[in-house]
Symmetry: C2
Subunit: 204 residues, 2 copies
């Protein structure tokens, strides 16, 4: 654990990515085993895709035989391997997460950031809702016991908007092209299946 | 090891895939640790791509920022993790491997199949040559001490040609869409980074 505390571990996340959600569920175990703390960096995945000319698997796998089925199989294996039960495909996928991610940037300045992340992930991938509609977002925030009015106002703060853009640009500048992405110091790891490598890198 | 001998482990390979070559270098260690023997199944990756509407990373990564660099980083990590030194990008990539794979099917009926696989991989990815030209193939076979005339004649055998097509179709029918692909019994694993999962599945 002596190395863990000297390494900076980052999780660049967007609530819109199911693989980021599944990673989020596995991170606490890694933190426990390594003593490291993952820094959650809100980014806009749509912005990453635009900047890198990349697209989500939902797009790139279209029309390819066998590959989507294999990805589903790997997700199933991941769920089993980690004992994950609270995961449900969001029927409104893809959900535009611009407001939710701005809310995450705002929440980082408060003491309810962790609760916000936990709850928004729940509303996206455990009890999935159409979280790009203002009234759905507000109802979800209220249901979670979060200060809805304060957060919704924060989403409109120009400094918050700017910070999300800056996070996203910074992420791309460091090599990110999709989700989920992790850094151990400046070493990039892409994909939920790299979490084992991330854990080893933390301990290395 | 008691389970290993009851499980059928397959490596569906094409000499044209660098990731299949790198997997090939790691397989002996897995065989040693698990007691399993990988059955090498020659397939034509171009045929798989055609049947599944998939394409090689060299094609799909084109024009995407950061992702090709990340793939190169992961290859570098794989080389380091497994102490691989004899790997060199083939400057003639992509090499049409139709003749080489027909040769593999033919060699399966002989006692020099293992030597053929080892040597063709060397000529593709350790001392890379343009292995889709008849004179280059012949010179390579001779240099390797293999019966060149016999193998080249075998490549033209209609039964051999048919078998390669059948292998490829069978592979796609079981879920394959790219290279490298592995089966543990009927469970598909795709990618050199899944070899750890393959090893665990053999032992499971």
């Amino acid at each position: 654990m002596s190395n863990a505390i000297t390494r900076r571990v980052e999780f660049h996340f967007d609530f819109g990515s199911p693989n980021a959600y599944l990673s989020h569920l596995v991170i606490p175990g890694i933190e426990e085993r390594t003593g490291a703390t993952f820094e959650y960096v809100p980014i806009l995945l749509g912005g990453v895709f635009k900047a890198t000319n990349n697209a989500s698997p939902a797009v790139t796998l279209q029309g390819i035989r066998n590959k989507p089925e294999y990805q589903a199989l790997e997700t199933q294996r991941f769920l089993v391997a980690h004992g994950i039960t609270r995961y449900e495909r969001n029927p409104h996928f893809p959900v535009n997460t611009l407001q939710l991610m701005r809310g995450a940037v705002f929440a980082q300045q408060t003491d309810f950031f962790e609760q916000y992340v936990e709850e928004m992930y729940r509303h996206m991938w455990a009890e999935p809702k159409k979280m790009d509609e203002a009234d759905v977002i507000e109802a979800a925030l209220l249901e979670s016991g979060l200060p809805a009015a304060e957060i919704i106002a924060g989403m409109q703060d120009p400094a918050v908007k700017q910070r999300l853009i800056k996070n996203t640009e910074g992420s791309v500048a460091r090599g990110v092209f999709g989700s989920p992405s992790f850094f151990v110091d400046d070493e990039l790891y892409f994909g939920k299946d790299r979490l084992r490598d991330v854990e080893e890198a933390i301990g290395a």
